[in-house]
């Protein structure tokens, strides 16, 4: 498991994170949500060992994350950042292949894995395309394929995927596809931590949810436990209504929008 304990981070005298404790269990999907600027991405950078100079400790499968070499770390966890800007015209295939380049596996094994992740992400038909000519959503799926390729291989230790808003430029069908994929990853003993803004997706798919606000954990639990009117309103400073979706039997959240209500009234009268 990934165990982050008492993580605090100060940048230019401003506290970004304050004693944050987060556990990511293998084989389960942990979501993190919260208002903009709550420190979610900063936290993700710390547990991916990208940021140094924080207080607290991060253990990855029981070993301090700082004691991993870059290559050893890459075999255990993969990271999908929020934005990725390629500067050179690589083909889609070349980008996805990079996820396997330090795997130390044979061409055959890597080839099979690449086929599999490209099928899963629906990027198979793009493989010969120039990455720079793809749409934003296509690029996001290609990056996800690269990230999956890195840790998809079955191992005798749990692996982890850290995703920073993996569905931000995807349509609803693709969003469902991605979260379906996350579940498939969990079935392979991969633990997933994702920063997600759409609370209704969290509600449908996440096993565990952390709400981050002003650098501390505001709430933690299953979506069902957390998605209550007071907790959500308190965290996001936004009036909401919480309903239960009869099809999925999951809570869903609809923000109250005073502007729309009043304007519709004006139109009607």
């Amino acid at each position: 498991m990934i165990a982050a304990s008492n993580i605090s981070l100060t940048k230019n005298g401003r506290a970004i994170l304050n004693s944050v404790n987060v556990d990511v269990q293998p084989g389960s999907f942990t979501a993190m949500a919260g208002p903009n600027g709550a420190g979610k991405s900063s936290f993700l950078k710390i547990i991916s060992n990208e940021t140094q100079g924080y207080r607290g400790s991060v253990l990855l499968n029981g070993k301090a994350i700082n004691n991993y070499t870059a290559i050893a770390l890459a075999k255990v966890r993969a990271v999908l950042p929020q934005n990725t800007h390629l500067q050179f015209p690589f083909s889609v295939q070349q980008v996805v292949e990079m996820g396997r380049q330090y795997s130390g596996r044979s061409k055959n094994i890597n080839g099979t894995l690449l086929e599999e992740v490209m099928d899963l992400t629906g990027t198979h038909n793009l493989r010969e395309r120039n990455y720079l000519t793809l749409s934003g959503g296509e690029q996001q799926r290609v990056q996800l394929a690269r990230v999956l390729a890195q840790v998809w291989e079955e191992q005798d230790f749990p692996r982890y995927i850290l995703l920073d808003e993996p569905t931000s430029s995807l349509d609803i069908a693709r969003q469902q596809l991605i979260f379906g994929l996350v579940k498939k990853a969990c079935a392979r003993n991969i633990g997933v931590l994702a920063i997600v803004h759409d609370l209704n997706q969290v509600s449908q798919f996440a096993d565990q949810l952390y709400l981050l606000k002003d650098g501390h954990i505001a709430a933690k639990g299953s979506p069902r436990e957390i998605f209550t009117k007071p907790i959500i309103e308190e965290t996001f400073c936004c009036k909401v209504n919480v309903y239960n979706d009869p099809c999925t039997n999951c809570p869903y959240i609809v923000p109250e929008n005073e502007f729309n209500i009043s304007s519709s009234i004006t139109v009607n009268s």
């Binding site: 100079g53 990271v79 950042p81 990725t84 800007h85 720079l132």
Partner: protein
């Protein structure tokens, strides 16, 4: 045309590299043969075979003298410098994720040139007095100057243990300006004779080749260039992003420092041999990227071959069009390189294959 380009993009790497190797060998032999005195290729082979001590063909003595003491060292130097500049350019473009980068940008070239100018103006008597030590001190000073300038640029751009690329490029501009000013200052103290050699430092000159210089410089150039060839996977990952490369298992900071020092070594020593030859480091990786593809597993070895190819052609033109005189090599690389480059850029732009968005 479109289909021709399409098929070029589908050519497999070994085929591309074999083709470039064959072209390089052919150009090497042609260039050895052409000049004031035309030496038939057959005689070239005989002379070279004789030098191995295993054969004793009858050869023309003038041919032998021209080939052995003038053309061959010049061609060997051209190949080494072309390779060093193109591979350094490819590595730096990959490292900085910026297709506009060339070795000059991080201060290597101007730092080396400054070292050389200072050495010539203030230390020429020392070089003349110690011919053996002189051959050794020249590349050392050039490398030292290049490394010092690069180190300065790197220090300026360091930010909490990481290199800020935007600051690095701006810092390079500043350090280049400083070096240019200091070169100008040194020129103020130069005599007539020394002044004439300054064209050499700004536009490059491959005419000063000799085996003595190569004995010192060649091993360093080969060492640095070959080591740079070993980073294709790291550079590919860095192309996706520095953070992403780290996530994929690349020790980015270590790779960055190593590549910069190796480039300083390769470019610094090149400058000590031939002055600053622009354009090769910028244009060769680009040509390969536009013609074939952007994978550094191709770009690096293909630059190793493409750099010498372009420089041999440029040198052949430089020493034949105004014979018996010679054009500065930088004039030729610019004159041929720039229009070819612009044409390719236009074509790539129209097909939306440009690297910057």
């Amino acid at each position: 045309m479109a289909t021709a380009v399409l098929t070029l993009k589908q050519v497999k790497n070994p085929a591309i590299l074999s083709g470039l190797s064959a072209l390089l060998i052919a150009l090497f032999l042609i260039s050895l043969s052409i000049g004031q005195v035309v030496i038939p290729v057959g005689d070239i082979l005989k002379i070279v075979l004789n030098k191995t001590g295993l054969f004793s063909f009858q050869v023309n003595e003038v041919f032998e003298a021209v080939l052995w003491s003038i053309r061959l060292p010049r061609l060997v130097m051209t190949v080494l410098i072309g390779a060093a500049l193109a591979v350094s350019g490819a590595a730096l473009q990959g490292l900085f994720r910026n297709p506009l980068v060339e070795p000059g940008l991080i201060g290597v070239s101007s730092g080396s040139a400054l070292g050389m100018v200072v050495l010539i103006v203030f230390g020429s008597s020392f070089i003349e007095a110690n011919s053996v030590l002189g051959h050794f001190i020249v590349p050392v000073i050039a490398f030292g100057g290049g490394l010092l300038a690069t180190y300065l640029v790197m220090k300026i751009s360091e930010q909490v243990g990481k290199t800020n690329i935007a600051v690095l490029i701006l810092g390079g501009v500043a350090v280049n300006a400083l070096a240019a000013a200091l070169i100008g200052y040194a020129i103020f103290y130069a005599d007539e004779n020394q002044l004439r050699t300054f064209t050499f430092w700004t536009l490059g000159d491959l005419g000063g080749a000799s085996w003595e210089k190569l004995w010192v410089a060649a091993p360093i150039l080969i060492f640095a260039t070959v080591w740079l060839l070993l980073f294709p996977n790291e550079l590919n990952a860095i192309a996706v992003g520095e953070a992403e490369a780290f996530h994929m298992g690349v020790d980015v900071e270590k790779v960055k420092k190593l590549i910069i020092v190796l480039c300083a070594l390769a470019v610094g020593v090149s400058v000590s041999l031939s002055g600053v030859i622009g354009f090769i480091g910028l244009v060769v990786p680009h040509l390969i990227r536009i013609t074939f593809h952007a994978d550094n597993r191709l770009i690096l070895p293909a630059s190793l071959l493409g750099g010498p190819i372009l420089l041999i052609v440029a040198d052949l033109i430089a020493r034949t069009v105004v014979a018996p005189s010679e054009l500065p090599i930088g004039v030729v690389t610019g004159l041929i390189g720039a229009p070819v480059f612009i044409t390719l850029l236009l074509r790539a732009k129209s097909k939306q294959e440009l690297m910057i968005r």
